[in-house]
């Protein structure tokens, strides 16, 4: 049992005992007061203290309070506070009977009653009253437990939301940095190179077109210039098709809005054709039942899996599988990337994947990356309705 659970049990027991003591005392004093009011002080003082009939009243209250104490002790002994409802009622009857019998015995010994039959009748009335006291205490503890659970759930939800927001902000920063680096690095360099090449081609055309120039434009020059312009065009096309597309996918994966299957298909289309790729999608329709945030996490996991397979796993084949499994808590989308090539060294450190794993756990899913055969398998999953996660 954890420290917090022990503290909770202690708090429940304290509340239970306090409730029994307070409510029992109210009954204890109330019953005596009722006897005095209804029957008169002389009637409740059968003569043991004729000179001071009020002492009898005090004795009666003391006996009643002692009964409450016995009831409380019995509830501790029988651990009523942590019992299930059925056991609670059964044990409550036992505890109440013990308290009622002891009360009647005390009343006989002290002389409040001189007739055992009357004392027994009194015990028959006292026992149900004790049960009522215990039930009220139990109801109070149950209500307190529910309030505590609701408060804890609220706190956990707030904590999860804060964690999710924090990881989202970190992820956004990472992607922004990545895109900014790519824009300032590769893209800018290529644009500078293409710009310089165009300027050089322009200068050459001007030079060749100068009137009377020895090097007037010849067919071979035209072919060479056309070839250079063609190279510039190819460079621009490559930037558009690859670099810009990669950047765009880094910001937002292709086809994500249309569903997991189109997004995975777009991802596999970017894997070099020299690597065999198997794509199994379990007849999942598009759009699927996931929200965009959950889809994004699964696709990011698949991207990491494919990147790992290509970069570190020297993949000779890659297989991607998407399934929608029906589990007791509801449907779960599971995406796995399996590659054959080089088996990763163990123990595996998740590094970049750890961030994804945390975010998936926040949504009630998880991520596993493990060596398998002559390669590795990355599996990521998320429940269809993560609002219902435990």
């Amino acid at each position: 049992m954890s420290l917090s659970q022990r503290q909770e049990h202690h708090a429940d027991r304290t509340l239970f005992l306090t409730s029994v003591a307070l409510i029992g005392s109210v009954f204890a004093i109330g019953v005596t007061a009722q006897s005095v009011v209804v029957l008169g002080i002389d009637a409740v003082s059968p003569g043991t203290h004729e000179l001071a009939p009020g002492i009898d009243v005090i004795v009666r209250i003391s006996v009643n309070l002692a009964s409450v104490a016995i009831l409380a002790l019995c509830s501790v002994w029988l651990r009523l506070c942590i019992r299930t409802l059925g056991k609670f009622f059964a044990l409550s009857v036992i505890a109440s009977s013990i308290a009622a019998v002891i009360r009647s015995l005390l009343q006989l010994v002290i002389g409040i009653y001189d007739d055992p039959v009357t004392a027994a009748s009194d015990a028959l009335i006292t026992a149900p009253v004790c049960v009522v006291v215990l039930v009220i205490a139990h109801v109070l503890v149950t209500l307190n437990r529910k309030a505590r659970a609701a408060e804890q759930a609220h706190q956990q939800a707030a904590m999860r939301a804060a964690e999710a927001l924090s990881s989202l902000q970190q992820e956004e920063l990472r992607v922004r940095r990545e895109v900014a680096d790519a824009l300032h690095g590769t893209m800018q360099q290529r644009l500078v190179f293409l710009s310089a090449e165009l300027e050089s081609i322009g200068s050459e055309i001007v030079k060749l077109a100068e009137p009377g120039a020895e090097s007037a434009l010849k067919p071979s020059d035209a072919v060479a210039l056309e070839s250079r312009i063609h190279d510039v065009r190819s460079g621009l096309n490559s930037m558009r098709e690859q670099d810009l597309r990669t950047l765009s996918a880094a910001l937002y994966p292709e086809a994500l809005d249309r569903g997991l299957v189109p997004a995975i298909r777009a991802l596999t289309a970017r894997i070099p054709a020299s690597i065999p790729v198997e794509l199994l999608t379990d007849d999942i329709s598009s759009p699927d039942g996931l929200d965009t945030g959950s889809r994004l996490l699964l696709i990011r996991a698949a991207e990491e899996g494919v990147t790992n397979a290509l970069r570190h796993g020297r993949a000779v084949s890659i297989s991607l599988e998407l399934t929608r499994d029906i589990e007791p808590d509801g449907p779960v989308y599971r995406l796995s990337v399996r590659h054959r090539g080089v088996r990763p060294e163990e123990p595996i450190v998740l590094s970049g994947l750890a961030r994804l794993k945390r975010r998936l756990i926040d949504l009630g899913g998880d991520l596993l990356f493990a060596a398998e055969g002559d390669g590795a398998r990355l599996s990521a999953w998320v429940p269809e309705d993560h609002e219902r996660k435990p």
């Binding site: 249309r258 298909r265 596999t268 289309a269 054709a273 790729v277 084949s317």
Partner: protein
């Protein structure tokens, strides 16, 4: 008396004003073409698809995708030819469509050429299904896939099928006899696992090309 030439009604949906105007100008100047334009899904949704022969749709639109819009228009008019336009190769998205018949894919680079654009529209209007030749040429068969076992000639024939050419045109393009093309086509179908029950094998071959090339 000779019947007047059929007017082709073309719906163009493109969000970039400059490109939309260019397409409208290129297509509008062709005799027998009637063009209407929209800048997004919501505007084009108001069209009566029955009054269109071809829809030329930009893939990425501000309020949706050309793919979804094409589906919607095709539901209203099953005979409509749909041509998706994109600056990058997203032709694999055609695999999301159950019945790829009469769906085509054109790169925006090709769309700037009047000849390519007109050929595309006429092919789409006649019920053809094709992929932009520039996109087809850039792709290579994926290792380990059925495409990888095709001979160079068979793969060339498949590429031309993907471009929407008939066997006769393929024969002329490759400079071989139509019978040889038939043989190559049958070999391609066999390699792709098609049999007599395969529905519309030409369209299925294009799907296989999109699925197993990169």
């Amino acid at each position: 008396m000779q019947a007047p030439p059929r007017v082709l009604r073309i719906g163009v949906v493109e969000d970039q004003p400059l490109f939309r105007e260019m397409l409208q100008h290129l297509l509008g100047s062709v005799p027998g073409f009637r063009v209407c334009t929209a800048h997004g899904v919501s505007e084009a949704s108001a069209w009566n698809a029955q009054e269109l022969d071809v829809a030329l749709l930009d893939f990425e639109l501000p309020d949706g995708t050309g793919l979804e819009l094409g589906r919607q228009l095709r539901q209203a008019n099953p005979q409509l030819g749909v041509v998706l336009l994109s600056a990058v190769d997203r032709a694999s998205s055609l695999l999301e469509i159950d019945n790829q018949d009469r769906w085509s894919y054109l790169s925006k680079t090709s769309a700037t050429s009047t000849a390519d654009l007109v050929r595309t529209i006429r092919l789409a209007a006649s019920g053809g299904s094709f992929i932009d030749p520039n996109i087809v040429a850039r792709r290579t068969p994926r290792a380990g896939s059925p495409l990888a076992v095709l001979s160079a000639r068979q793969y060339s024939v498949l590429m031309l099928i993907a471009e929407g050419l008939t066997n006769q045109t393929i024969a002329a393009r490759l400079g071989i006899a139509p019978n040889s093309v038939n043989n190559h086509v049958n070999a391609v179908y066999a390699a792709l696992g098609f049999n007599n029950t395969t529905h519309n094998p030409r369209v299925s071959a294009v799907r296989a090309f999109l699925k197993d090339s990169a």
